[in-house]
Amino acid sequence: MSLEKINNPLNARHWIGHMETDYRYTLGVAGERFLKEIKENARIMGAKCPKCSVVFVPPRLYCEKCFTKLEEWVDVGKRGEIYTYTITTIDVDGKKLEKPQIYALIKFEGAHGGLIHRIGETEKVYIGMKVEAVFKPPNERKASINDIAYFKPAER
């Protein structure tokens, strides 16, 4: 650890007027690998606990049930099922949205958990509906959950 030593107080880092505070978050070890898989391979991965035989989506570093470190990762596919949904009509500030937006919790077969995301290319939505991820083109992906543009109704 090093400390910044300042002899001239004028050299101290300072702000005049309004000071903005924001945060920068790390993706985490499991999070980085998860988002890299989405960015580079357009794959949605889960992490499997060998003890509990549970595949967690999104993947994590450890199993919350038994504290085993999770090292086995599996591709859960880009297709899932709508577990529940909402159609929002107002934004965080309470302002009316131009167009209602569907958000859903999507669960993947054989996996525990799921992803929350937008539903696109449809106005019809129901619980149990099969959907699939629509990825942004590779050059637009930034290792963000928004590299998945949205989920659309899955073709049969």
Binding site: Y23, Y25, L27, G28, G31, L35, F56, V57, P58, E64, Y83, T84, Y85, T86, I87, T88, T89, I90, D91, V92, D93, G94, Y103, A104, L105, H112, G113, G114, L115, I116, H117, R118, I127, S144, I145, N146
Partner: protein, 388 residues
């Protein structure tokens, strides 16, 4: 007996609940604490320890809110702590007070809960944006109303529940609140009013939701020895329970709050309650949304899964029904200054069991009541069982 000492509530107080009160958070805490002490017939110097409950610092806009509220809560030069478990704080704070006294360490503990949500401008909803996972959820644009919409939709889907039946909770609680002098949103409304109110995030509509509020509540806890000295009417804390579910809300069964059940079972076991619907005379489950009262009745084992809407429709949960639920008017009618709303429910059960609830008094000489609060990201539950 659990703990070294049996613990009683001997005084309670609540301030007005309003969208925007002139008083600061400290001043609100002071008023509630003073009322509770007056009802207990005690002075501040009789208090040996203080617990404060308050929800996110972001509402008041004062970081280290516990330290900020200390003087208003009567904690000057006393052993003091703040507890915080999100929306479940209001019932968790008296649990923390319980272990102060049950441990034998203190004979008296003043428990104060405060929230001043109006400081957060333009709307406290904004303070909730940072409660979501910064990597996976915030980039999608999460907001609190719609995660409840997701839960409500799953609950309705699982048991095939109609919105009409859920709306009955809002109608009942807002009507009950007409008899509560502190209430912010007391009203005589109809199911149609709820169904015709603005859609926020389907299936959540404006009148399904409790308001944001300023307010405070307080209770005085004492050991059995002190209780005998100060009152003929102690109300005993006979059961305490608390539990948290997975951090990952996407991994929960959203249709049923099993963490509420675990907390309830813990409290019932301690209180020796084997058949909750028969043995509990009055209940105050947490009702920030109308469907949550139903969800929580089921989690509290007051009925079977999916059965709460039926009991509501049949009038069982009305103030004069077999199992009065939220006779206070609940968060939907009285208001929702988060932690203060939870402790208000404990105060209500205290007054109901002492026969002091005035126009809100449930008939039948109730002896046992339960209050519950719910919080963090739809995952925490705190439960208290009171008996006279």
């Amino acid at each position: 007996m659990f703990g070294k000492k049996r613990v009683a509530i001997v005084g309670a107080g609540v301030t007005l609940f309003r969208r925007n009160l002139k008083e600061t958070g400290k001043e609100l805490a002071y008023h509630a604490a003073k009322m509770a002490l007056e009802q207990a017939g005690m002075e501040l110097h009789d208090i040996q320890s203080v617990v404060v409950g308050s929800a996110p610092d972001a509402f008041d806009g004062v970081h280290m809110k516990g330290e900020y509220l200390a003087d208003g809560a009567g904690a000057y030069h006393k052993p003091y702590m703040r507890v915080f478990v999100g929306g479940a704080t209001g019932v968790f704070a008296p649990l923390a007070g319980w272990w102060h006294v049950a441990s034998g360490k203190f004979d008296t503990c003043l428990v104060v809960c405060e929230e001043k949500m109006s400081s957060c401008y333009p709307h406290p909803q904004y303070a909730f944006t940072t409660i979501f996972d910064p990597i996976l959820e915030r980039p999608i644009g999460m907001n609190l109303i719609w995660i409840f919409a997701l839960e409500m939709n799953r609950y309705m889907h699982k048991h095939n529940i109609k919105k009409e039946d859920i709306a009955l909770v809002s109608v009942k609680n807002k009507r009950n609140a007409l008899d509560n002098p502190i209430a912010q949103l007391a009203a005589n409304i109809t199911v149609e009013d709820v169904l015709n109110s603005e859609i926020m995030a389907w299936p959540v509509q404006r009148l399904d939701v409790s308001p944001t509020s300023d307010g405070a509540a307080a209770v005085v806890l004492v050991s059995e020895d002190v209780a005998k000295e100060v009152t003929d009417n102690p109300v005993w804390i006979d059961g305490v329970g608390w539990c948290i579910d997975s951090t990952h809300w996407t991994n929960r069964d959203l249709y049923y709050p099993d963490y509420v059940e675990y907390a309830a079972r813990m409290a019932y076991k301690m209180a020796g309650i084997k058949n909750p619907p028969k043995e509990i005379d009055v209940a105050e489950p947490y009702d920030p949304f109308d469907y949550k009262e139903l969800h929580h009745m089921e989690g509290l084992l007051l009925c079977k899964k999916g059965e709460a809407p039926k009991l509501t429709r049949e009038g069982v949960t009305q103030r004069d029904g077999d199992l009065p639920v939220c006779p206070s008017g609940g968060l939907l009618g009285v208001g929702n200054p988060i932690s203060a709303a939870g402790l208000m429910k404990v105060c209500e059960i205290f007054w109901q069991l002492r026969g002091e609830a005035g126009k809100r008094q449930v008939p039948g000489d109730p002896r046992t009541g339960v209050a519950q609060a719910w919080g963090d990201l739809m995952q925490y539950s705190s439960v208290i069982v009171l008996r006279r």
